[in-house]
């Protein structure tokens, strides 16, 4: 492990150990799908590349069904680009498919257009000025093109419909483009259609980064972390929110909504100062580490629970786990009081998890600042030429990056834990809380060591990095969210 750009998602050490004990077969070792719970195969594509991908599907379908590419596009867009499903349904009952895809009218017989009066402009025109749709409804070309232009100006493209009352047949792309004359409107139409196609395609996602044109493609439709290689934005491939394992998509949405709703109640607890439990002097938290040392009396304590840090060496468990108050039922005989107590208890419970969620998020930011300070100090040392070069300190930045990754996962264990705590049927709750506490303890340990990097042995830090990442992967392996989560959905 001498390499400076160590990749911690590879489980080299663990695998070696497994090989040593001979209880892990070789196939698993080379298959990252099994060893890395976060393994995600995806590609970052440009608009042109995605257009090519889409056009290939369109061409294939139009060839196999002998329909125009334009109609193939309508079919694909209406059926989430599932060509096989479309072909099966077409062979089964072509007419049904065309009606349900809004290519044909469901009213059976085509409307025969006998008059030369356009029902939209209520004016008579010569026969050649008319254009009809597959449903048989016919209008003058001038009205069609005005209809298209107004729809496009309102952001509508693939969903432009026939102009007849009660007819929901869609206008295919070739007809729209043949009757829009202004180039800017055509561009807009193509742009909006492209957006519709990407949104209806299950394997494609627009990168949520601001002004980023990248489209991410994956066949793994799960809540894995996708990172845009152009703008570095990361997100959950399934729901588009910030990556949130081990919490699943439904739960994180619930949690974020709850946090937004309860932000006022939660605000008062996010203050940045606390009193030292021994000498009562006011201490401001200025690093990400939760292991606090009072500047006045040198007392070591835990920022979260204010207990002596010594009790946390092996029992950090007590700090991450919310303890139900067993006396709640006995505290009051009065029903009214009980309801009040229960409400207060529910709020206390939520605040317990929220405080930890919020605290780790703050720690992430503070650790970033610590890293900046470290950089400056190391820079000074290197400039003074004190027997060290930048390369010698590179490991520290690797360690800080790993710390951020671990703390990020730890932060996202709290929404999971909160909802699991309310579900009496969740059998794996204890295991989860145990692993969460283990991870938390190792992360604080690493954070403490990195903050004191100049006086800490490099080997010690690297060892701690290894432990942290293993804890993180163990927790994710056991609790990575499935599409229909068993524990906290």
């Amino acid at each position: 492990m001498e390499s400076d750009d160590m990749d911690y998602s590879d489980d080299d050490d663990l695998d070696d150990a497994m090989d040593y004990y001979g209880n892990e077969d070789d196939i698993d070792n080379v298959d990252p799908k099994k060893t890395d719970p976060e393994f995600f195969m995806y590609e970052c594509l440009t608009v042109d590349e995605v257009e090519k991908v889409l056009n290939e599907s369109v061409e294939k379908l139009s060839n196999s069904l002998k329909i125009t590419p334009s109609l193939a596009k309508v079919l694909l867009n209406e059926h989430r680009w599932n060509s096989n499903d479309i072909i099966d349904r077409y062979r089964d009952n072509a007419s049904n498919l065309l009606v349900s895809s809004r290519i044909k009218s469901g009213n059976g017989k085509k409307v025969a257009h006998v008059t030369l009066l356009c029902p939209v402009c209520i004016q008579s025109h010569t026969f050649d000025k008319f254009q009809n749709l597959s449903c048989g409804h016919s209008f003058c070309k001038n009205c069609w093109s005005m209809h298209f232009e107004i729809q496009v100006s309102q952001g509508i493209s693939t969903q432009i419909r026939c102009m007849a009352a009660g007819c929901d047949v869609l206008v295919p792309e070739d007809l729209v483009l043949s009757l829009i004359s202004r180039p800017q409107v055509r561009d807009k139409y193509n742009q909006f259609s492209f957006q519709d196609y990407v949104k209806s395609h299950p394997e494609l996602r627009f990168c949520p980064g601001t002004n980023c044109q990248v489209i991410i493609r994956s066949q793994d439709l799960s809540s894995k972390k996708a990172s845009c290689k152009t703008c570095q934005t990361s997100f959950c491939f399934q729901c588009g929110n910030d990556y949130h394992a081990p919490t699943n998509c439904v739960t994180i949405k619930k949690w974020l909504t709850k946090c937004a709703d309860d932000s006022e109640t939660a605000n008062y607890i996010s203050a940045n100062t606390k009193d030292c439990p021994k000498c009562n002097i006011c201490i401001e938290k200025n690093g990400g580490c939760n292991h606090m040392q009072c500047m006045n009396c040198k007392h070591d304590f835990c920022w979260m629970c204010l207990h002596d840090w010594k009790s946390h060496g092996s029992e950090y468990y007590e700090c991450s786990r919310y303890k139900e108050n067993p006396n709640i039922a006995n505290e009051s005989a009065h029903a009214q009081n009980l309801i009040h107590l229960q409400a207060r208890e529910a709020l206390k419970k939520y605040l317990h998890y929220y405080e930890r969620w919020e605290n780790h998020s703050k720690s992430l930011q503070l650790e970033q600042q610590t890293l900046e300070r470290l950089k400056n100090r190391i820079n000074e040392k290197v400039m003074k030429g004190l027997n060290s070069t930048w390369i010698d300190w590179q490991y520290l930045f690797t360690a800080a990056t790993l710390l951020a990754k671990c703390r990020y996962t730890l932060q996202y264990t709290y929404p999971f834990a909160y909802y699991a705590s309310m579900d009496p049927t969740s059998s794996r709750k204890d295991l989860f809380e145990y692993q969460q506490a283990q991870l938390e303890a190792e992360i604080e340990n690493l954070s403490w060591k990195i903050e004191r990097a100049e006086t800490t042995d490099r080997g010690e830090i690297e060892n701690q990095m290894d432990i942290c990442e293993k804890r993180r992967l163990t927790l994710l392996k056991d609790f990575f969210p499935t599409t229909t989560s068993d524990m906290n959905s």
Binding site: I122, F139, I150, M163
Partner: protein, 199 residues
């Protein structure tokens, strides 16, 4: 271009609507409210065998520049008690005035559709939730209230002296006529509940 289209279309519609037989039967009516063909006044007769029978309902119609590619904006000027029409603002919940509008529809289509809406309310897609719940929970009370409103606001024939008396009692307490009637209607004509609601 679009402006001209809206105006010429309205002009042509006028010929179409004015010559049709509904006018002769005084069932629907349409007239200009300004000179540039953007504001119109519509009128529909309450359909027979409904609480709105023999009432006359006025509508405010605004024609957007993109008409007929976008729907006209329509609301009731005449106060009306109906699940899909706001008893306060006259705003209408009707699909063809929103997503299901089609450019081939005309103002005549709109007026006839509104008339059909008076004959067949859709309480499950309400504009006025209070009216809708009365419609579902106490249909008889709904009919009487709607008839009463038709009488007071739309020249309908059915008088309800007990309702008028209750409105008068609230007016004596300084409440204006409409607020008094709306509060009583909301509370199934229970004067105590209505009074509590107002004060």
């Amino acid at each position: 271009m679009a402006v001209n289209m809206a105006v010429s279309r309205i002009k042509r519609e006028f010929k179409e609507v004015l010559k049709s037989d509904e006018i002769a039967q005084c069932s629907i009516k349409l007239e200009l409210a300004n000179d540039n063909f953007t504001e119109l006044r519509g009128e529909i007769a309450g359909p027979p065998d409904t609480p709105y029978e023999k009432g006359t309902f006025l509508l405010e119609i605004h024609v957007p520049e993109t008409y007929p590619f976008n729907p006209p904006k329509v609301k009731f000027i005449t106060k009306i008690w109906h699940p899909n029409i706001s008893s306060v603002t006259g705003a209408i919940c009707l699909d063809i005035l929103k997503d299901n509008w089609a450019a081939a529809m005309t103002l005549r289509t709109v007026l006839l559709s509104l008339q059909a809406l008076l004959a067949a309310a859709e309480p499950d897609d309400p504009q006025d939730a209070v009216v809708a719940s009365q419609f579902k929970d106490n249909y008889e009370m709904f009919c009487k209230t709607a008839k009463h409103w038709t009488n007071v606001y739309a020249k309908g024939p059915h008088k309800f002296p007990d309702f008028d008396a209750k409105v008068q009692r609230l007016r004596d307490m300084g409440v204006n006529d409409f607020d008094a009637r709306a509060a009583l209607s909301r509370h199934n004509w229970d004067i105590n509940l209505a009074t509590n609601d107002i004060f």
